[in-house]
């Protein structure tokens, strides 16, 4: 009897202060870390560890059971859903914030707005000169991130209509180098996360309705959902572990958690 009580107490203790693991997207990583930090400050007994590796890595870990929450910058793919099904597991999806991509050019560039079709033409290599989209007679130099970046896929899906990038696109290893290069190259165009926008580069207004309305990349426009190049950021967890992770997920969705979203540079959920 006595041992049973001790066991029970032990079980309770471990379930309350159980360590939670978050793994996945490098885009969500800084947000997850900040959230975990504040969460642990509030709940002294909680222990949350956050690691990156990419959305695919996080979702694979969720299926294997090596993480409690998978952070993802994209929706779960068909193949991943099927894997979960094979293992007879069910997952739950929570949107915790939005991320917006700004299309940027050199500040000396006259062009200040582009339609999605024009962007597609530029990034797939069909439009090669700025004069074709109303600018100076200047060769377009396209910068993109390396294929290992989450933004690479996102931009391809949302802007290029799933077409492949032109092979002449310059692939940069980091967001910082894209900004550096675009600020010193006259004919340059590229994309960066809204959080990384800097004054050395100019953002371009985009239109997703064939040029009827053009929307600038700003936090306000991303918040009211008028800016089209934005994507949700997700947490995925198994329904069986819902109890364990609920406290942390609720914290991320709370007003306090959403304030952190804004601090990190992402777009908070609309209330």
């Amino acid at each position: 009897m006595k041992t049973n009580i001790i066991l029970l107490a032990f079980a309770l203790y471990t379930s309350v202060s159980s360590a939670q693991k978050l793994k996945g997207s490098d885009t969500v990583l800084p947000l997850g870390q900040k959230e975990a930090e504040s969460f642990m400050n509030k709940n002294k007994s909680a222990k949350v560890t956050v690691t990156g590796g990419g959305s695919g890595v996080g979702l694979a870990a969720l299926v294997d059971g090596t993480t409690d929450i998978a952070m993802s910058s994209r929706k779960m793919k068909m193949a991943e859903k099927m894997k979960l099904q094979e293992e007879k597991k069910e997952s739950k999806e929570v949107i915790i914030a939005y991320d917006a991509l700004a299309v940027i050019v050199n500040p000396t560039n006259k062009v200040s707005q582009l339609t999605r079709e024009q962007l597609e033409g530029i990034f797939t290599g069909e439009i090669k000169n700025w004069k074709e989209v109303g600018g100076d007679d200047l060769q377009i130099v396209v910068y993109s991130r390396e294929s290992s970046s989450g933004t690479y896929e996102f931009f391809k899906e949302h802007v290029l209509n799933n077409k492949n990038y032109a092979s002449s696109v310059l692939a940069m290893p980091a967001t910082g180098s894209i900004i550096q290069s675009i600020s010193q190259t006259k004919g340059a165009i590229g994309y960066v996360g809204l959080a990384y926008m800097e004054k050395q580069v100019k953002d371009v207004k985009v239109s997703y309705d064939n040029g009827k309305t053009f929307v600038g990349a700003s936090m306000a426009n991303a918040k009211n959902k008028t800016y089209p190049i934005s994507r949700p950021l997700y947490y995925y967890y198994l329904t069986t572990s819902e109890k364990a992770v609920k406290l942390f997920v609720d914290f991320c969705l709370s007003t306090e958690g959403q304030k952190i979203v804004e601090q990190v540079g992402y777009v908070p959920l609309a209330k």
């Binding site: 799933n162 092979s167 310059l170 692939a171 290893p173």
Partner: protein
């Protein structure tokens, strides 16, 4: 007792030394084995995503398709079946996500149990469709036809002009632009570094006073200790804009920028090794030359340089070796566009930069992963040839002396 103890200690140390050299050799062999085992696997795979099929209507007369054609179809560059040997009809693209445009969720089923049937019916009803979907959704009595796709061939791999392993649905694995990019950048680097390095080493070994050399040599050797990412940063912020302005180019990230950075990085190797070789010229030979009335200059280029030529070559080749394998600095300044370069003023993508940039997201064991290992094999073979050349040259010199 004391001698026994001493002997035992000697034996023990001997064993320890042998063990460490064995471990080192084994590690190297294992790495090479692993590299080639993974790399060769690429030729056993089809260039489309694993577990996926490409299917068409059974009345379509096209039977075979190359990965390049698949990519062009899905990029809508090929829009008509007649361009790839079919009947003239426009091509309708289908990806699995599009299924909801054709069938309701109820028909597909909550656990996708109705999906194979839907796919089969869809492909049967649309004569000009091309569909890309997972093999497991292939219906048992599938009414369409699967397109044949060849495995990656050697000629496709080495002769292909496009490197685009993340292209969907068919990966493009032509390493030609990468090999050319690597050689292009390294060649430029050596053309810049060799004259400069040689001049500096002649000056330091023959002309400079002791005092000057004692200041200069450590400074040059310091160059070798600077982390490559610092060189890359310097290149991106200083050299890239400079090249862009000087040559009035649309883009400054070029092979030339990479060559300059690599040239600077190869300098310490070239200078240190060739300077050492020149200073090893026997004093007697130099003095004999001077005694015969030769001037200082004549002595340098008739005696010192010929005597130390093997050391100079070794320095140059080791310098190239460093340039070819360098990753981070090049990744930052060459622009990394995988196109075949026509001049030194165009962006290039090198092999090491490709491996470093892409390995992070390549699924373990997949086609892309193995293709990167195959690239590693190519790089390994290039540096192996370079090392053998060094060995050959220094051996040849030994025979000459005797």
């Amino acid at each position: 007792m004391k001698t026994f103890y001493k002997k035992f200690l000697e034996k023990f140390i001997e064993g320890l030394l042998m063990l460490s050299s064995t471990i080192t050799t084994l590690t190297v062999v294992l790495i090479v084995f692993f590299l080639f085992k993974e790399g060769i696997g690429v030729f056993n795979k089809k260039p489309i995503e694993e577990g996926y099929v490409i299917a068409i209507n059974k009345n379509n007369i096209v039977t075979k398709i190359s990965s390049e054609q698949i990519k062009n179809i899905y990029d809508q560059k090929i829009k008509n079946w007649k361009e790839i040997g079919g009947k003239p009809d426009s091509i309708i693209l289908f990806r699995l996500e599009d299924i909801s445009n054709y069938y309701s969720d109820a028909a597909i089923g909550e656990n996708f149990e109705g999906l194979p049937n839907c796919l089969s019916r869809l492909i049967d009803s649309v004569p000009n469709i091309i569909a890309f979907f997972p093999e497991k959704y292939l219906d048992k009595n599938f009414k369409g036809r699967q397109l044949e796709i060849d495995k990656v061939t050697l000629s496709e791999f080495f002769g292909g002009k496009e490197w685009f392993p993340t292209a969907q649905p068919a990966a493009q694995l032509g390493v030609m632009p990468l090999i050319l990019g690597t050689l292009w950048v390294s060649l430029g680097a050596i053309l810049l570094a060799l004259p400069l390095g040689l001049a500096a080493s002649v000056y330091m070994s023959e002309i400079a006073s002791d005092k000057v050399r004692r200041i200069m040599k450590p400074l040059i050797e310091l160059l070798a200790g600077i982390p490559s990412v610092v060189y890359g940063f310097f290149g991106l912020v200083i050299i890239v804009p400079l090249i862009q302005k000087t040559f009035n180019l649309p883009v400054g990230e070029t092979a030339l920028a990479g060559s300059i950075i690599l040239g600077i990085m190869a300098l310490p190797t070239i200078i240190t090794i060739s300077e050492d070789a020149m200073r090893n010229t026997p004093r007697a030979m130099k003095e004999a030359s001077l005694a015969l009335g030769a001037s200082k200059w004549q002595t340098i280029y008739k005696v010192v340089i010929p005597y130390s030529i093997s050391g100079i070559t070794a320095g140059a080749i080791l310098g190239i070796g460093r340039a070819i394998g360098e990753t981070m600095a090049v990744l930052m300044v060459t622009g990394n566009a995988a196109v075949i370069p026509h001049s030194i003023l165009e962006p290039v993508r090198t092999i090491p930069a490709t491996i470093a940039a892409e390995l992070g997201e390549a699924p373990n064991g997949g086609l892309h992963f193995q293709a990167l290992f195959a690239l590693g094999c190519i790089l390994f073979l290039i540096t192996l040839v370079i090392n053998l050349t060094v060995e050959f040259i220094s051996n040849r010199n030994k025979y000459n002396k005797h």
